[in-house]
């Protein structure tokens, strides 16, 4: 007569278990050992099994219990998911050298020339971008300067320097054709004052912008 077993079935992925009854022959009973990570979960309800079979079943249970658990490791399921990786367009600009102060004095003047000019190349511009074909523009905050302030990018390590230009409130190209890279250049400011313009002071705030060309 077949023995009746209650079997607990577990899903390793969901960790959900369920009990169910089923009948098994004595041979099946010997092998119907549903081991969950090395633990026997057979629970006999009634038996008409000969004692020898019971013992054999017990021995087999102990035998399997002694085996390493990993030998019975099973893949109960698999899954996958997608990882989205995004690198946004990033552009950085930095000016080194601090504030620039021009002071036009008699020492900067040639007698007979109305134009008095002074240059300063103490500042450097650093940039980095991961976007293609960028440019850097420059503009001043001063709407009506007394004197002319010119700017030129000298020796850029990347891109092409635009021609020297007088700063105004309109952004003007300083560097062109900057690709995905980092680079630096020297900022050459030239202050130009005419003697005929008299004396005075201009305070500029220069804004550099890196943007798509």
């Amino acid at each position: 007569m077949p023995a009746t077993f209650a079997a607990r079935t577990c899903n390793a992925g969901t960790r959900a278990c369920s009990l169910s009854k089923y009948a098994a022959t004595s041979r099946e009973m010997q092998v119907a050992l549903n081991l969950d990570r090395g633990r026997s979960i057979l629970k006999p309800i009634s038996t008409a099994i000969p004692r020898t079979l019971t013992r054999l079943s017990t021995y087999l249970s102990f035998f399997f219990l002694l085996l390493p658990a990993h030998m019975f490791a099973q893949v109960y399921g698999s899954g996958n998911h997608q990882v989205a990786v995004v690198v946004s367009p990033i552009s950085l600009l930095q000016v080194s050298g601090g504030a620039v102060n021009f002071n036009v004095t008699t020492a900067n003047v040639v007698a007979g020339q109305d134009e008095m000019s002074v240059s300063n190349s103490a500042s450097q511009l650093f940039w980095g971008t991961n976007s293609g074909t960028q440019k850097i523009t420059a503009q001043t905050s001063l709407g009506s300067p007394l004197f002319t302030l010119k700017l030129l990018a000298v020796s850029p390590t990347q891109g092409t320097a635009a021609s020297e230009f007088a700063l105004s409130t309109t952004p003007t190209d300083l560097l062109l054709n900057i690709g995905r890279s980092s680079g630096t250049c020297t900022l050459q400011y030239t202050a130009v004052a005419l003697a005929s313009q008299g004396t005075g002071t201009d305070n500029h705030t220069i804004t550099f912008t890196i943007q798509a060309q």
């Binding site: 007698a111 007979g112 109305d114 005929s196 004396t199 305070n203 943007q211």
Partner: protein
């Protein structure tokens, strides 16, 4: 379906705006430009020797000699009341006269000005009312005259100083 498409469009638009916002970067720097009062004057060199070696019979005034070989240049941004004064390191002996005449486009030339007795304490004006700006390569004229009654004068060098002042 329409709602899904609308949502996707919104997400795409937001993505574009975000990219655009990060695509730009700025940096600033302060630049101060100060122009002080400037006075500058220079001369092109020294005139040739002014040597009197002729006269007119019956006249005490010997024949004067001139030199217009030198020039001066100026630059000033102070104002429109600037002038040029001249003085020598030492006055000439009586009977000898040294005149200067400075051309000017920015100011008013006073023509031939006697500088024979102009020393550091008594400089004389030669150009006045000079406007702001520059005046380059203007001629400096020297005229040296002497009286026969004053006798001869061994070679004497005078230092003439031109001063741009207000």
């Amino acid at each position: 379906m329409k709602r899904t498409l609308f949502t996707l469009a919104l997400v795409a638009a937001f993505g574009l705006i975000t990219e655009s916002a990060f695509a730009q970067a700025t940096a600033t720097q302060s630049v101060t430009l100060a122009v002080n009062a400037v006075y500058k004057i220079s001369t092109s060199g020294n005139p040739g020797a002014l040597t009197i070696s002729n006269g007119s019979a019956g006249s005490d005034n010997l024949t004067a000699v001139s030199d217009n070989s030198t020039t001066y240049s100026i630059t000033q941004n102070f104002g429109n009341t600037v002038k040029i004064t001249v003085h020598m390191d030492a006055a000439l002996t009586a009977g000898y006269t040294l005149q200067m005449n400075l051309a000017s486009t920015q100011g008013t030339s006073l023509g031939n000005v006697d500088i024979s007795n102009a020393t550091s304490g008594s400089a004389v004006d030669v150009v006045t009312a000079i406007a702001r700006g520059a005046d380059a390569g203007q001629t400096i004229g020297y005229t040296f005259s002497a009286l026969a009654s004053a006798g001869t004068l061994s070679s004497t060098t005078k230092t003439v100083t031109l001063t741009l002042t207000n």
